[in-house]
């Protein structure tokens, strides 16, 4: 064993000397270093802007409610100074009577908070899909936030042309360029020695063919992995990326980069084992690169969208509109039903005559609430027509991803970066829970003929985003990461076995 190790060490030292003398390899590495740093700095600048925008949005919301709180206190203090109780709920108030910070519709509906999906601090790994999701969601009574209509879901204003072009980020460098770098320095691993007629000389030394292959790959792998890891980590530090204790994610990212690179090295080993010329190896590896990064992902994408097509949102819009009109026509019957199901309302003095009083009185919001509840109920099958196929697409894509290491790697990168659909759905689950909490807090007030008191401002539901735990992320990445680890091992083993029949001459 120690002989083998010392033999390998000698080969690695020899390869290192050879590579050191190859000026082209160094030019390529320097270029690659610049590209990595450029990609990191490019995204970290955008990330800082997004983080600042999110902080500003939170500050603006807090400031708005601080202002309302102060105004509510002022109203209550003025009433106390006059020796009167604070203004009471006015069922007959018209909505243009300038409702203020003590009216639940004004605070809870018109000025409901807007929630901004927090940018992931790990965006620098991959911008992913985060630039496609909406920029904010307004709390409202119309059901799940992602299905809200009427401008509550604010789209990003990004230029669609540039969105389509994508980002020059670390994901692009790792997925596309990094395999190219590996293939560029290893396509002639053995064929180069054979063509240079040095293979025979090398094998005349006390070294086996397989040890020679392993040594050559190990030297290149150490160089490439060392450079990519070192450059990326220094890039993260220099660009001021704050991972806030994300050691697990950074470690998993490093592992993913190493095993993904391992796959391409293993592929080069296999290509060289066939024993054809360097030019033939280069062509075969270029075709493999094209297949794994273009053809297979496109085929998977085509298969998933063809098998389970998601209907366009225009159908949803019309369905929602139709339901809205139907429900509006049925308002009276719906309110009667609601009163029947909620006997407590009569205790607070509501009847079919005064609850359904409608426009232009403030309690309009109450029958609207009843309407919305019915709308949400009727919309469920329509929404299912969208969410169902998308979930099936994702499931099919998850099964097909094992066909390409690039697709597996993309999955891992998006999960570690927190810029894929999984983290966005994690955010939406919390946002929807908050939405419900908020609505429960405010909706009951007009039904109870209550106003929002200054003291209420201290106990409002507050949205605090809880980041996914490293355990959850690691759990999601375990399958693709394991597959990515097994692939190079299996391929490398096959490649090394194939060297048994390697033609040393001719």
């Amino acid at each position: 064993m120690s002989d083998l190790m010392s033999g390998l060490a000698k080969i690695i030292r020899h390869e290192w000397r050879m590579l050191r003398a190859d000026r082209t390899a160094w030019v390529v590495l320097v270029l690659f270093a610049l590209i990595i740093e450029g990609a990191i700095f490019n995204v970290s600048a955008t990330l800082r802007e997004k983080q600042e925008a999110e902080r500003q949005a939170i500050r603006d919301e807090a400031e708005k409610f601080r202002r309302f709180h102060a105004e509510a206190e002022e109203i209550e203090q003025q009433a106390a100074l006059r020796g009167q109780p604070p203004p009471q709920f006015q069922a007959e108030a018209k909505y243009w009577d300038k409702p203020g910070p003590r009216d639940s519709i004004f605070v809870g509906a018109w000025n409901a908070p807007r929630i901004v999906p927090p940018p992931s601090p790990f965006t620098v790994f991959a911008v992913g899909q985060c630039d496609l999701f909406p920029s904010s969601y307004k709390v409202g009574i119309d059901g799940k936030m992602e299905w809200q209509s009427r401008g509550r879901v604010l789209q990003r204003l990004d230029n669609p042309l540039l969105l389509k072009a994508g980002r020059f980020d670390l994901e692009f460098v790792i997925l596309y360029l990094y395999p190219m770098l590996i293939l560029a320095i290893s396509f002639n691993l053995m064929s180069g020695e054979k063509e240079g007629r040095t293979l025979g000389l090398l094998l005349a030394q006390p070294v086996s063919l397989r040890a020679l292959v392993i040594g050559k790959v190990a030297c290149r792998a150490l160089l490439v992995f060392g450079c990519v890891s070192g450059l990326s980590l220094s890039g993260f530090l220099l660009s001021g990326t704050d991972f806030g204790g994300g050691a697990v994610r950074v470690s998993l990212w490093l592992v993913a980069v190493i095993v993904y690179g391992g796959f391409w090295f293993a592929l080069a080993v296999v290509a060289n084992a066939i024993g054809r010329s360097s030019a033939a190896n280069a062509l075969a590896l270029a075709v493999a690169w094209l297949a794994f990064l273009f053809v297979i992902p496109s085929a998977i994408s085509f298969a998933t969208t063809s098998a389970y097509s998601v209907p366009p949102r225009i159908e949803y819009l019309n369905a929602a509109r139709k339901i809205e009109d139907d429900v509006r026509r049925e308002r009276k019957a719906l309110i009667a039903q609601y009163l029947k199901e909620h006997p407590e309302l009569s205790r607070w003095g509501w009847t079919l005559d005064n609850l359904g009083v409608g426009y232009p009185h403030v309690p309009e919001a109450m029958p609207e609430k009843v309407e919305f509840l019915e709308m949400i109920r009727r919309l469920q099958p329509v929404i299912a027509r969208y969410e169902g196929p998308l979930a099936k697409q994702q499931a099919l894509a998850d099964r097909c991803r094992f066909l390409s290491p690039a697709v597996l790697m993309q999955d891992v990168l998006y999960d570690l970066a927190g810029t894929g659909r999984a983290r966005h759905e994690h955010f939406l689950r919390q946002a929807n829970a908050f939405n419900e909490e908020w609505n429960i807090f405010f909706d009951v007030k007009p039904f109870r003929r209550e106003m929002v008191s200054a003291a209420d401002y201290a106990v409002f539901p507050r949205f605090i985003y809880r980041e996914e735990s490293p355990g959850d992320v690691a759990g999601r990445t375990i399958v693709p990461l394991s597959a990515l680890t097994l692939l190079p091992l299996a391929l490398g083993w096959l490649g090394l076995r194939a060297y048994r029949r390697f033609p040393l001459a001719g």
């Binding site: 904010s136 669609p160 062509l283 009109d325 697709v407």
Partner: protein, 474 residues
């Protein structure tokens, strides 16, 4: 044409036809191109059908709006949908990344909503399978693989010296080699174009294709011409590199690097350069700007309108007015709001255009960027035509609000508590008619792309014979 050129071309063609690897590559790319064209056609026909159905349904829904106050009906809103052009089957451009619907609302004007890309899985971030991607990315790769050994390979095998010793002129050799490479590519493109055109003819003769949205032969011809120039650029560059490179391997590496930078790196780098050079406002910032503009309107504008009306009709009390001042407020208010939105939307789209110009300028070193932007323009799936449609939506919104607000102005009594209207008023709102811009309008928006493509084409046409005249023999 000299006979020797044809002979060389024939020999090159036979060599490619006999090479199993290329037969596979051709088969794969042809299948991909034909499949993407057919898929594009199917997608176009389906989207067109859905949009037409949704448009008709939306009209029905509008006409069947329950009786309500016209202003309340305006708040209820109306959706309009952007139609698609037949050439979107070839190049879907930004369609997946821009919204498909526009909500018309009182007081507020909206940008397009509901991007199809939001309802997709992450795998679609790799690349979309469209005819445009095949034409812009894969065919250039095929050209590179076909032409890289043209001179370098002959030189390595020692046949170049032999050929020249037979008295073959370098120019004829180059022309023959170029023709030999063009033959297989045309063999790929001609049937694909025929399939595409037939598919599109079929799609656009289906019932429900809106007026002005039929197949445009002028746009198709311009697109075909553009792609031919694009392929010529790749063929020319490949021949030049092959003539100058020391070895076939060096020629291949150089050309693959050019292809990689052109097709994969340049779009991302130029997109990020455009993002950094022209900063767009965040959505909240954009809406805040609109709110700020609204706050600039004098607070007493409604009182002034009422006073003007009272003076005009010579009455002392609002109740005595024969028209409703609320209607006048709505008419004037919507005019003010529309102007504010128009100003802000124009600023936003101007910023998009500045970004797009930077992106197009990347065509100076990566011809794909010039071809890509021109192709989306001709397919009607670009930013300029999105802006054109957004503007048309804004104009239609004004027309829609005018009908509703004028009804209140003329027919509601001042202070009347309950005022509702029904279908007879909703029918007075015309359907939105939209004519897409013509070819000249589109081409005028892509002068930079056209110029850069033409520049590349001219450079290749001039430089290729010069480079080939100095082809290395040893």
């Amino acid at each position: 044409m000299r006979l020797v050129c044809l002979k060389i071309a024939r020999k090159e063609f036979i060599e490619v036809a006999r090479d199993g690897r290329f037969r596979w590559a051709f088969g794969a790319i042809f299948t991909l191109l034909a499949a993407s064209l057919l898929m594009g056609w199917r997608h176009y026909a389906e989207v067109n059908r859905q949009i037409e159905a949704a448009r008709a349904e939306q009209r029905e829904l509008w006409l069947n709006t329950p009786d309500r106050n016209p202003h309340s009906a305006a708040h209820h809103g109306l959706y309009v949908f952007k139609p698609v052009m037949p050439l979107s089957a070839v190049d879907n451009g930004i369609d997946s990344y821009s919204g498909v619907s526009f909500l018309l609302d009182a007081h507020d004007q909206n940008l397009s909503q509901h991007k199809p890309v939001e309802d997709t899985t992450a795998i679609q971030r790799f690349s979309e399978t469209t005819a445009a991607t095949t034409l812009q990315i894969l065919i250039p790769l095929l050209i590179v693989l076909l032409t890289f050994p043209s001179f370098a390979g002959e030189r390595e095998q020692g046949t170049l010296r032999l050929l020249l010793s037979l008295g073959v002129r370098r120019r004829d050799l180059a022309f023959g080699k170029g023709l030999g490479a063009a033959g297989p590519i045309l063999l790929l493109l001609i049937p694909a174009t025929v399939i595409g055109v037939l598919a599109m003819r079929l799609a656009t003769t289906t019932e429900g294709t809106p007026r002005g949205w039929e197949m445009s032969w002028a746009r198709l011809s311009a697109m075909v011409l553009g792609y031919l120039v694009y392929f010529t650029i790749f063929a020319g560059v490949s021949l030049m590199v092959s003539a100058r490179a020391a070895t076939a391997r060096m020629a291949l590496v150089t050309l693959l690097a050019f292809w990689f930078i052109n097709c994969l790196v340049a779009p991302r780098v130029m997109a990020d350069a455009a993002r950094h050079a022209v900063r767009l406002p965040a959505t909240s910032e954009f809406l805040q700007r609109i709110d700020e503009d609204k706050k600039q309107v004098p607070p007493d504008w409604q009182e002034r309108i009422t006073a003007q009306l009272m003076a005009q009709y010579g009455v002392r009390k609002v109740e005595d007015l024969p028209v409703d001042p609320l209607g006048a407020h709505l008419i004037e208010g919507d005019k003010i709001d529309s102007a504010i939105y128009e100003k802000n939307f124009n600023q936003l789209f101007s910023a998009y255009e500045r970004q797009e110009r930077i992106y197009q300028a990347g065509g100076a070193f990566a011809p794909m960027l010039a071809m890509q932007t021109l192709s989306t323009g001709l397919a009607g799936t670009d930013l300029n035509q999105l802006r054109h449609f957004t503007h048309a939506v804004g104009e239609y919104r004004k027309q829609w609000l005018k009908v509703l607000n004028e009804d209140i102005f003329f027919n509601r009594r001042p202070g009347q508590m309950v005022y509702t209207r029904g279908r007879d008023l909703w029918e007075q709102v015309p359907e939105m008619k939209y004519d897409p811009p013509g070819l000249v309008w589109v081409l005028s928006r892509y002068q930079l792309s056209i110029g850069l493509l033409a520049g590349w084409g001219l450079l290749v046409v001039i430089a290729t014979p010069l480079a080939l005249a100095k082809v290395k023999v040893d």
